[in-house]
């Protein structure tokens, strides 16, 4: 076993990305993503990789598109504000099948719609993993590089300031997720007219001498691929839900806090559990329906105005059991969570919503 190392989330993610073979990174500073860009800029050159401080997020994501199309394991990131600028390129990558990892080291949980619905064009989705802590972010980072290449698509890690900055003793160990398909699509530098050139093209029209499937067939195939991913890649954690009357649904760091409160309330004799979507897209619809079958109350806790709430309402066993106990809570700097992300306030909200079932 490798030794424990005390690393902040950004550095741990960087080490995990290098372990997964990432050798190209581009980004533009924006707190708390800046820590990731700094760590990448230190470590990439040491591993014969390249880290570019781009002049904007739009430039960074398009650098990644190019590097990935040429066969590099490539990644970019920002916080939600910068990833908003990247939406066109993310949609292009999804539709022209370029694998890449996008790290949203977000300032809060207000980017749920952004990562699960996206703001680009076309029938695409972005597979998104939301780790609860740094050790899980290390696992997820390696898994994401594998998933990106397995399905040839951009994927997202949804982090936050606590994940970015908390220093935790972790082990960075290579993970084998299984074989990957041949990389016969990678551009190799052959140019047009040689007969050997390849295309990575959203419209898939092909060349005059070698017509592609064209947009209709290509985009239907893309849609089928996303349906396949939606069925195959749902991930979730059910914590103390088996006999729970009240199930709280939360993701990422917020779920870590809810799990702590669940333990406290269980010690008081309350039958409370946590359901945690690990993939935000695909939303773990099958597992949520199963976990909530006998619950009388399903409480959604997220640090936004109610975004995952839509998905919970869509897939929960009984929509009438759903109530929202989260809310917008932002630190006065605008760069971090506000006071709602704390065991006490979460406990109070669960208790007051559970009145009558105790």
């Amino acid at each position: 076993m490798t030794e424990l190392r005390l690393l902040d989330g950004c550095t741990a993610i960087t080490e995990a990305a290098l372990t997964a073979g990432c050798r190209f990174f581009a980004g533009y500073p924006m707190s708390p993503f800046t820590g990731l860009l700094e760590a990448m800029s230190r470590r990439m050159p040491e591993e014969n990789g390249t880290c570019m401080n781009a002049e904007s997020e739009i430039e960074a994501v398009n650098m990644v598109l190019g590097a990935a199309a040429a066969g590099a394991r490539a990644a970019t990131g920002s916080c939600g504000q910068g990833i908003a600028l990247m939406q066109e390129a993310i949609a292009e990558m999804a539709l022209n099948q370029t694998p890449a990892v996008v790290f949203n080291m977000a300032r809060n949980q207000q980017d749920y719609f952004q990562c699960t619905r996206g703001g680009g064009w076309g029938d695409y989705r972005t597979l998104t993993l939301a780790p609860k802590d740094v050790p899980e972010a290390v696992e997820h980072t390696q898994l994401l590089f594998w998933l990106a290449e397995r399905y040839r698509m951009p994927v997202i890690l949804y982090g936050d300031p606590i994940l970015a900055q908390t220093q935790v003793a972790v082990r960075i160990e290579p993970r084998d997720h299984g074989p990957l398909p041949p990389r016969d699509w990678v551009l190799d530098g052959s140019s047009g007219g040689t007969g050997r050139s390849r295309q990575v093209w959203t419209w898939a029209m092909g060349k005059a001498t070698d017509p592609g499937p064209g947009p209709d067939r290509h985009w239907r195939a893309i849609a089928e691929k996303f349906s396949e991913v939606a069925a195959a890649e749902q991930r979730s954690e059910s914590y103390r839900t088996e006999d729970a009357d009240t199930i709280v649904v939360a993701f990422g760091t917020a779920a870590l806090f809810v799990a702590h409160v669940v333990d406290e309330l269980r010690a008081r004799g309350l039958r409370v559990g946590l359901f945690r979507p690990v993939t935000l897209w695909p939303f773990p619809s099958v597992a949520l329906a199963a976990a909530t079958r006998r619950a009388t109350r399903v409480l959604v806790f997220e640090l936004n105005a109610g975004q995952m709430l839509d998905d919970v309402r869509q897939y929960v066993h009984d929509r009438d059991t759903v109530a929202f106990i989260g809310g917008v809570s932002i630190h006065e700097s605008g760069l971090a969570f506000g006071p709602l992300l704390d065991a006490g306030p979460i406990r109070e909200r669960i208790l007051s919503a559970s009145e009558g079932t105790r």
Binding site: L6, Q165, Q167, V168, A169, H260, L341, A343
Partner: protein
């Protein structure tokens, strides 16, 4: 659950070395093969702003929250910005006070049911000829009272954290750790 995790909230003002002693503690534990977490929180100012470090050490992957719900110990290097540490300290917890500075009698330490240890570490550090090392005296005392890390482990971690242009403070910091440990050895 059932697995011991030991938390401490270190708090003071920017310039007192809170972040350095927090990192030294977490790193010493990690180097000893234990699980550690360091959640830092500080203002943008170089001096005088809030500075806090929560450190958790355990023998298995940690379950404690990065914003501690409660803490086994609190170290107050300054009374300013100490409300969080005071509120989260468990009733039976260990309260360490820098009595050179923390002289207010806010309900908390006078009413605190657990153990209270006061050390004038700012004055002690001045006597050692290394006023910047007050935090390490306190850290040595914390290590002595809890046994959570060794003085040798702290010293190694501290030296590895000093940038080259601060390396000359390594010996004084090491003496400070030893002084803190000695101060509580008879308690």
């Amino acid at each position: 659950m059932g697995i011991l995790e030991r938390e401490v909230i270190l708090c003071g003002i920017g310039g007192q070395g809170i972040q350095l002693i927090g990192k030294a503690l977490a790193l010493a534990a990690t180097k000893a093969g234990r699980y550690a977490m360091l959640a830092a929180d500080y203002g943008g100012e170089m001096r005088g702003g809030p500075s806090q470090a929560s450190v958790v050490i355990g023998d298995a992957p940690l379950r404690s929250l990065p914003i501690l719900a409660s803490s086994a110990a609190a170290v107050l290097m300054h009374h300013k910005f100490s409300a969080f540490a005071r509120e989260r300290l468990r009733p039976d917890g260990l309260l360490l006070l820098n009595t050179s500075i923390v002289t207010d009698t806010v309900a908390g330490e006078t009413a605190h049911q657990g153990r209270v240890v006061g050390l004038p570490v700012t004055a002690m550090a001045r006597e050692l000829g290394a006023p910047q090392s007050a935090g390490f005296i306190m850290l040595g005392a914390y290590a002595g009272l809890t046994g959570v890390v060794t003085a040798a482990g702290l010293e190694t971690a501290m030296r590895s954290l000093l940038p080259p242009y601060r390396a000359q403070h390594g010996d004084a910091n090491a003496r400070a750790i030893a002084a803190g440990l000695a101060e509580v050895s008879s308690l």
